[in-house]
């Protein structure tokens, strides 16, 4: 089961700080979404509004057609897992935290939770406060997955996890998304590692949504043009250039947008080398400080 997420001109201000600036997007649901952005770009703010943790200042947010804030009918079907965990739970045992989570969510699956506890080797009788950073993240992951909520969001849930455990997390998310299609949003900095999991990617920069695109389309939508600096300059004139690197007479320009067959042939004839652009590079350049786009 999944619910459509509709965000329209969403603005969130804390005093004089604008955390989200007229963000609009529609998530049709049943997919894995990647939410990318630099520190302070508004990722956690957006997820907090979607989870009903914060009331937005302006615009509209609807999940399954209903307003989110102060609406238990919606928030009981949404789960946001924060990477840092919840400090108020420090004195509770892991088993108790899981029990509370089960009471909170009607969709909770306790057999699946037990499976995940085993997978991530969580000690049920220890207090949350005594857990390592990584184990605490893993506890959040177990809660997010076992809640089986139609909208589940993991905000940098990989923090403190070692590589093998991160891969366990990715495998579990993927297996779950295929077994029980639901909307899963992953916010992350580790783009290269996790991007193959995404069906769609959203990029926030400075509170604005700068991009929302299918991951596969994104992978095909940029290229690096390399060659003699003057020839490169002439070729990219009029194209959207995200960034440039120069070494002696050689220059490499990152172009965003599809090149047609004629342009490709022209580049090849001019002795230019066309290479693919990595999602991570695209991300870095789209969120470059001072980027006018």
């Amino acid at each position: 089961m999944s619910m459509v997420v509709e965000v329209d001109q969403l603005t969130l201000r804390y005093h004089d700080v604008t955390a989200l600036d007229e963000v609009s997007c529609t998530l049709t649901g049943g997919k894995i979404y990647g939410l990318l952005g630099r520190n302070g770009s508004g990722k956690t703010s957006l997820l907090s509004v979607l989870a009903g943790y914060r009331e937005h200042t302006d615009g509209q947010v609807r999940i399954g057609g209903l307003p989110v804030f102060d609406n238990a009918e919606v928030t009981s079907r949404v789960c946001l897992v924060r990477g840092s965990g919840d400090a108020t739970q420090n004195s509770l045992k892991v088993a108790d935290v899981l029990e509370f989570a089960a009471i909170l969510r009607t969709s909770w699956d306790s057999d699946y939770a037990a499976e995940l506890v085993e997978l991530f080797s969580l000690p049920l009788n220890k207090t949350v406060g005594s857990l390592s950073h990584g184990r605490r993240s893993a506890l959040g992951i177990v809660i997010g997955l076992a809640s089986r909520t139609p909208l589940t969001m993991f905000d940098e849930s990989y923090l403190g996890l070692d590589a093998p455990t991160r891969y366990k997390f990715y495998d579990a998310v993927l297996a779950e998304a295929m077994a029980q299609p639901r909307t899963i949003i992953l916010s992350t900095h580790l783009i290269e590692e996790v991007s193959a999991l995404f069906e769609e990617v959203l990029i926030l920069d400075d509170g604005k949504l700068v991009l929302h695109e299918e991951a596969e389309t994104l992978r095909a939508s940029g290229c690096a043009v390399t060659g003699d600096a003057e020839v490169v300059d002439r070729f990219v004139d009029g194209l959207r250039v995200l960034g440039e690197k120069r070494l002696g007479r050689t220059k490499s320009a990152m172009v965003y947008g599809d090149l047609d067959a004629e342009q490709r042939a022209g580049a090849s004839a001019a002795g230019l080398d066309l290479g693919p652009l990595a999602l991570q590079d695209l991300f870095v350049h789209l969120t470059e400080p001072g980027d006018p786009s």
């Binding site: 295929m178 290269e192 995404f198 999602l279």
Partner: protein
């Protein structure tokens, strides 16, 4: 396994094509399911489905409803035919250009090719 630098569905399709050309996947062999493929390679199932769809459109795979995807009997020949068309521009031309940069005489290249081809049936 898959890099982030070109559409992953294209890389999946190429991998399956390579398996067919090598004979690792034979005519009417079943291909791994979308779900298994996605889990094994840790990629989004929609991406895998897109690759499979392209292979179906190219006539290399066929679908049996409720069972799965299978290799078309003429897939190897279709692929060989397609690769033959671009073999010289994709493989030979760059090799010759590289040899020229390294100042390897054309004669040496020809000798090598002849040496590697002896014993082979002439078409």
């Amino acid at each position: 396994m898959f890099d982030d630098r070109s559409p992953i569905y294209r890389q999946i399709a190429e991998q399956i094509e390579a398996d067919v050309l090598r004979g690792a996947l034979g005519a009417d062999d079943q291909v791994m399911s979308t779900t298994k493929y996605a889990a094994f390679h840790r990629i989004n199932p929609a991406t895998v489905a897109k690759a499979f769809q392209q292979l179906v459109d190219d006539g290399l795979l066929y679908k049996r409803r409720g069972v799965g995807m299978f290799v078309s009997p003429d897939a190897p020949e279709t692929l060989r035919e397609r690769r033959r068309k671009t073999f010289f521009t994709d493989v030979v031309d760059p090799m010759v250009a590289q040899a020229r940069t390294l100042r390897i005489p054309a004669g040496e290249l020809i000798d090598r090719i002849t040496e590697l081809s002896t014993g082979e049936e002439q078409p």
